[in-house]
């Protein structure tokens, strides 16, 4: 087992810089999820850890050893690819034993390792099939089997579930977590699905355009996003953003650009009359009855019901916001309702390009 450390790692493709001085640390046995929109450099980062891409500058170390110039096979890592990348001309058994065979492991040991991995993943029946005779989920399992037979120090996953249907994805999510708990190997897992990140990670690394935006425990990212990007990326439905100003004269209120006033928690003096962006999670907004203090009006423009909960889309404060109701909604489109934002659950961000969180 080993920790993985990235120190000012840069990746350049010609003149284009895909990763800018990335610093990151994965502790021994930790399950870290790299998440971010398409093209942000997640795969590139993972492939650099694997040794499939050269490092332009900086250092990557695995288990305390700098691996910049060390070939993939000597890094003691295993990788599961998005497309599974099973060798089509080999049976499942051969696929899984390929690495051990190349490493000249004695045949009885190979057989034992393959049997063990197959029983963990429930592949026993399939060992003599070719990849084309397997379903998508089974292929996915074989790809994981190929990784675990080697008993590597570090597991790398690049969007392993993105080709599966929704139900299977949820099931495999749990299986991968379980496997991690069982094997305890250090894991770096790439996904663009923030729900996958939230449910699986010990630690999430949010990336955008080659920069790391925030690193932290899933709930830490959820409760205290470091900037507007993370705030908008983590959580579904996404966090609501309302542009407006605070006034130095009355520090207790925030005025949105359409004039709607929202009451702030006591001690909001840190905002001292600046233009800011107020943010609130959809579940921290509530529909309230007439006469509730601090309420403001909104017009319903859409209702989406998933069964256990309903997402209400509203127009208010000069923008569109969403609100999650835990009960069946009896609201109709076009109706005007009163809303209240939980003052303790408000977030504030600078209204500049960086959109940093304002700490109060």
């Amino acid at each position: 087992m080993a920790q993985v450390e990235l120190n000012k790692v840069v990746k350049k493709y010609g003149a284009y810089e895909a990763l800018h001085e990335v610093d990151m640390r994965v502790e021994n046995g930790e399950f870290v999820v790299l998440v971010g929109p398409s093209g942000c450099g997640k795969s590139t980062l993972l492939r650099m850890i694997a040794g499939l891409e050269a490092i332009s500058s900086g250092a990557i170390s695995i288990g305390g050893r700098v691996v910049n110039d060390i070939r993939p096979k000597e890094r003691d890592i295993a990788m599961v690819f998005q497309s599974y990348a099973l060798y089509p001309h080999m049976t499942v058994r051969k696929n899984m034993s390929f690495a051990l065979k190349l490493a000249s492991v004695p045949q009885p040991e190979i057989d034992a390792a393959v049997e063990r991995a197959a029983s963990i993943l429930g592949l026993g029946e399939l060992l003599d099939r070719r990849p084309k005779q397997l379903s998508g989920g089974q292929r996915q399992r074989v790809a994981m089997g190929r990784a675990i037979v080697r008993n590597p120090q570090v597991f790398l996953f690049d969007e392993p579930l993105s080709n599966l249907d929704a139900k299977l994805r949820v099931q495999m999510r749990a299986e991968i977590r379980e496997l991690h708990q069982r094997l305890g190997a250090t894991t770096v897992y790439v996904t663009h699905d923030q729900i996958e990140a939230m449910t699986m990670a010990d630690k999430i690394v949010v990336m955008r355009q080659g920069y790391i935006e925030q690193i932290g425990h899933p709930l830490e990212l959820y409760d205290r996003p470091a900037n507007l990007f993370v705030a908008g990326f983590i959580g579904s439905p996404a966090m609501n953003f309302i542009e407006g100003e605070t006034s130095a004269a009355s520090p207790q209120s925030f005025v949105a650009k359409d004039g709607t006033s929202i009451t702030l928690p006591a001690g909001s003096a840190a905002l001292d009359g600046r233009r800011v962006i107020l943010a609130i999670r959809p579940e921290d907004l509530a529909v309230v009855g007439d006469g509730t203090p601090d309420a403001f009006a909104g017009k319903v423009v859409g209702v989406e019901t998933t069964g256990p909960e309903s997402v209400i889309l509203l127009e208010t404060c000069g923008t569109r916001v969403s609100l999650v109701l835990r009960e069946r909604a009896s609201l109709g489109v076009g109706q005007t309702v009163l809303l209240r934002a939980d003052p303790a659950k408000l977030h504030f961000f600078e209204s500049d390009d960086h959109g940093r969180r304002i700490i109060m």
Binding site: A78, A85, Y87, P88, H89, P131, R146
Partner: protein, 275 residues
């Protein structure tokens, strides 16, 4: 009704095509078993009556054809093997490695193919003569590379490009070297391409005439296509023997196609990825 009409629309041209393609071959096969007198009758006789093996006797026991057959075999197999070895490495390089001037080089490979054969005969003769390779197996084997290598490289490059990059990445992670990836993963997966290239190269060299005529002038070195011409003398052509010799010459090609046809496995790649 619709279906039957569509079947007709498709099968009629196909039948026509097969007829045009197969008729000369059939005529050759049938003529090879005819006695001399029946070859010239008007109207033509379709079937030999009675069939005779005299033409084959002439070809197999009274001519140089067996020797030429062996020559052709050595030269075609030699040059096909050599072309395959070169083409595999060249094509893999073109398909997988990003180096300066790659596309220019790939285009340049084909330019050789565009030159008319006649333009290279004299320069080649001078070079081969200088190297002492006129009238040797090696001489023709090397010359035939000029003929077959460009297209072989192009075809195989396409096949190699069709292999998902992630497969090779996975093999590298599993601990394979670059050569290991080529031989254990990529090569087995392009075997339909290898078979196609081998067939193409074998057929092209087996039938080649102009180079063989120019560079293999001695009796011991001649190949089958040249040998066929020996049945024509100044005054007379022994058509029966020509047909029998052609039959002998066609046989290996037909056999190879029959055997290989089953090896053109389609969908060898399926299962590698999600699809």
């Amino acid at each position: 009704m619709q279906d039957r009409r569509r079947t007709l629309v498709i099968s009629l041209p196909v039948a026509l095509l097969v007829l045009v393609a197969v008729f000369p071959f059939l005529w050759m096969a049938v003529s090879a078993f005819k006695p001399l007198a029946q070859l010239y009758t008007i109207p033509p006789r379709w079937l030999p009556d009675p069939p005779t093996l005299v033409n084959f006797k002439t070809v197999l026991f009274e001519s140089n054809i067996p020797r030429y057959f062996v020559n052709s075999l050595i030269i075609s197999i030699g040059s096909t093997s050599l072309a395959l070895i070169f083409a595999i490495f060249a094509a893999y390089g073109f398909a997988r490695f990003d180096f300066r001037g790659r596309s220019a080089a790939l285009a340049f490979v084909l330019i050789g193919q565009l030159l008319p054969t006649a333009t290279v005969i004299v320069p080649l003769y001078i070079v081969l003569n200088y190297l002492g390779l006129i009238n040797t197996y090696l001489g023709l084997i090397l010359v035939y590379l000029i003929l077959t290598l460009p297209l072989s490289v192009w075809m195989l490059t396409g096949y190699f490009r069709g292999i998902p990059k992630e497969l090779e990445d996975a093999a590298i992670i599993d601990g394979a070297s670059h050569l290991g990836v080529l031989f254990r993963i990529s090569l087995p997966l392009v075997s339909p391409g290898i078979i196609a290239v081998a067939l193409y190269s074998f057929v092209a060299t087996w039938n080649e005439f102009v180079f063989a005529l120019s560079f293999a002038t001695e009796k011991e070195m001649k190949t089958l296509p040249i040998g066929l011409a020996e049945f024509s003398t100044e005054f007379d052509t022994d058509w029966g023997a020509v047909m029998a010799a052609s039959f002998v010459m066609t046989l290996p090609i037909a056999l190879i196609f029959l055997v290989m046809q089953r090896m053109f496995v389609s969908g060898l790649m399926s299962g590698a990825t999600k699809g």
